[in-house]
Point group: D2
Chain length 262, copies 4
Amino acid sequence: MTTSDSPVRVLVWGENRHEQIEEKVRAIYPDGMHTTIAEGIVENLGQRAQVTTTTLDEPEHGLTEEVLDATDVLVWWGHAAHDEVADEVVERVHRHVLAGMGLLVLHSGHWSKIFGKLMGTSCTLRWRSEHDQELVWTVNPQHPITDGVPNPIVIPEQEMYGEYFDIPTPDELIFISGFTGGEVFRSGMTFRRGFGKIFYFSPGDQDFPVYFHPDIRRVISNATTWARPRRERATPTLLRYELGEYFDGQDYRGPIEEPASV
Amino acid sequence: MTTSDSPVRVLVWGENRHEQIEEKVRAIYPDGMHTTIAEGIVENLGQRAQVTTTTLDEPEHGLTEEVLDATDVLVWWGHAAHDEVADEVVERVHRHVLAGMGLLVLHSGHWSKIFGKLMGTSCTLRWRSEHDQELVWTVNPQHPITDGVPNPIVIPEQEMYGEYFDIPTPDELIFISGFTGGEVFRSGMTFRRGFGKIFYFSPGDQDFPVYFHPDIRRVISNATTWARPRRERATPTLLRYELGEYFDGQDYRGPIEEPASV
Amino acid sequence: MTTSDSPVRVLVWGENRHEQIEEKVRAIYPDGMHTTIAEGIVENLGQRAQVTTTTLDEPEHGLTEEVLDATDVLVWWGHAAHDEVADEVVERVHRHVLAGMGLLVLHSGHWSKIFGKLMGTSCTLRWRSEHDQELVWTVNPQHPITDGVPNPIVIPEQEMYGEYFDIPTPDELIFISGFTGGEVFRSGMTFRRGFGKIFYFSPGDQDFPVYFHPDIRRVISNATTWARPRRERATPTLLRYELGEYFDGQDYRGPIEEPASV
Amino acid sequence: MTTSDSPVRVLVWGENRHEQIEEKVRAIYPDGMHTTIAEGIVENLGQRAQVTTTTLDEPEHGLTEEVLDATDVLVWWGHAAHDEVADEVVERVHRHVLAGMGLLVLHSGHWSKIFGKLMGTSCTLRWRSEHDQELVWTVNPQHPITDGVPNPIVIPEQEMYGEYFDIPTPDELIFISGFTGGEVFRSGMTFRRGFGKIFYFSPGDQDFPVYFHPDIRRVISNATTWARPRRERATPTLLRYELGEYFDGQDYRGPIEEPASV
């Protein structure tokens, strides 16, 4: 953990496949979407954040134990290659989130292995990629993630994501989006899992320059500050406490008492 | 209370002013909006409900102690004359809700005295009455209020209600509406207050025949069943319990102990 | 699905290991804990339920596709042998819950594979098995799961489960328990996942005759009625909808559009 | 509003009656409970807070429009004289909370007019003042209000407050207390109302030196930081927006359109 006075250490993870395969995506995001997302955080937080990026094609997808240990908040963008993310890495990220690492899941990351594992549901939804306008409405104006954000945020062209979005009830519903076609979507939500804080934010797509939008960049930046851990990373653990003893727990030794050895 | 096998006793309260003053409203609802709403409940619940109506212009607005005692669920439609509802009657309805009576607040009832008193907020919102299409999306498909309802419900013409809707976070968010203009609205929500269950449902307006819409009628009918009390009406009370005594509480005798009299 | 007028089809799954290994458990539950739990449901629901049992040692743990298809609500008790439950069966149960099957997870089931998969967290807690008294307090008296239950339920002797319980925020917090040692525990909670409804209820242990307690039996019975599906079982699915089309979705064909073949 | 870098302006309001009437209370809190509460905030926040106090007996209870305008977070302690708080002042405080002022309601303030008005319920509970031990357990360890607080907080002697506490479901349940008698209480909870943030915290009583307890002082201090407004104070307002117009709303002109004058 870093203290709240030190810069938040943000790692933007990008799948980085559309940018290599599709020219139209490369035209929008010539340095990769992860780079654009990272630049948006730097633009807003400046010295208050230390932002790095990594991608799927790095060894261990760039998400080694050491890297995660040094990450306060992980930002996740994936789409075409969810299945290529190794289960072992997903387990590792999951463990770090439960121990306190913040996680931002963006847009098509709703169908990533890590999000599904944290939610416990299918995370399916309704969609259409046809130049809908998206309006992102604030329904929780007291929340720090909405600081400095207009109501609504206007995104001229976007992929439509619509309900029913199969997720658990969020801890906080912050944004609801409306689309040209009349569809609605819970587009900004927080979830607590273990000691970690998670923010799902749906605006953002490979086919539209959404990650250059100043309000979208502001939301993502606010969310990294919000999601940073407030305690030392610690694994939730099953512990036994004697009667009248509240602070000194004993490790679990199994479901059935062993007879004393002879 | 009636048991869950007996018909739910529903009272539809209508302000009944637009119908008298505006010919266009009278053309849509010749027998009054309250009558149409009541007919929709009978259509769906048949023998499972006993539905009556009353209006603002009745003595005590038709909401005497005796009437409320015999009501399982009160359905509230008001708009032009919120201020004419006597504070004393509002207090009475409030007391019955806390004691267990169900309450459905429809559409412009968001600005009624009784809803404001139960919510504690301004209950303001954004609006426009200009023939928007409203789509009512289900975000809680497991909820009994959504039984038999398509996703979305399509309402061809409706007044727009949009966010930010200044209400407390609901217990359950069940419907979100999207409008032609791109606005969104949390249009179906439940709230618990005291021992009473409350459902706010925004579709429905004096200028459009929304209370003839079969899906809207179905939602209102489902909600009356959901909101009916499950226990004898009882007033939440402050009680003192001795150590080790859990069921026999003593009434409150004031904040400062009296010295024993001499 | 069965209709709400037909008996709810309940399957009680028991690990059935303590009863075989430990004489003191066998003395309390001579027919197995699953049998006692099942009898409590029959006692309360009578003809309104069709209750069967199965155990870990059955082929496929008694949880074949056919069995689950014919189950409205699955009740889960496990403790010593969580690891012996085959991953394939866990996947199957998970799929059925997302498709609408109700699930009751009892006591030490908090650490079962299926509960962990649905929650996404470690589900760890603090504990002590030392004859604490447990008082189960109702904090949601409007909820059908509390019908006919005193406040508090008094359990003379119980294992202590205490906070911090590492679970997602529940949809509804219904019971909170207090123990002799001063510990507290969120002991009755609901969660929605996919189209399924889940109730976690902590009272009940192999070392104490808690499943003979009439109030505990009543809660479990109420919960089976509450958790039964209200719709035909259906798998949440990702679907594409054209502009203006709300009901006829198209299956997903992959993340990147294929060029037309030559 | 002050910015998040400037000191939070906290006003501690004390009823200050027990201290004058009861010698045992004066012995514990010789300078008044409000002074002790204020000192605890200064102890923790130092330069990060500007803390002042006022009491019931001041003109307008010390809560004029000017004073509230200059207050970021109001801390409320009352008990014996809830009824003496003028309705006009309650309206004023309510208006400021909806406009964004933070509010901390302590202990017996659960029955104050302002808390009841914001909650919409009776705010009744079960109680006993008999030297119970209170353990305050954290159930939301990610929340900033829990920073630096042990789990549990141990209070050697306290009044017992128990469930059922008749309040709306909180936005966030942060602490649950357990008492010697086995009672439990949702003792730390947040609520959003209008643009304001509210924290209710039950530990603290006139008969015990709870406001000298370092952990209790820490919680109250954390909560003032959490509750401070993040936006300029603004009154939630009903506004009409034309189709395609999202930022320039028109004031409400009444429920029925006037015919054009001749």
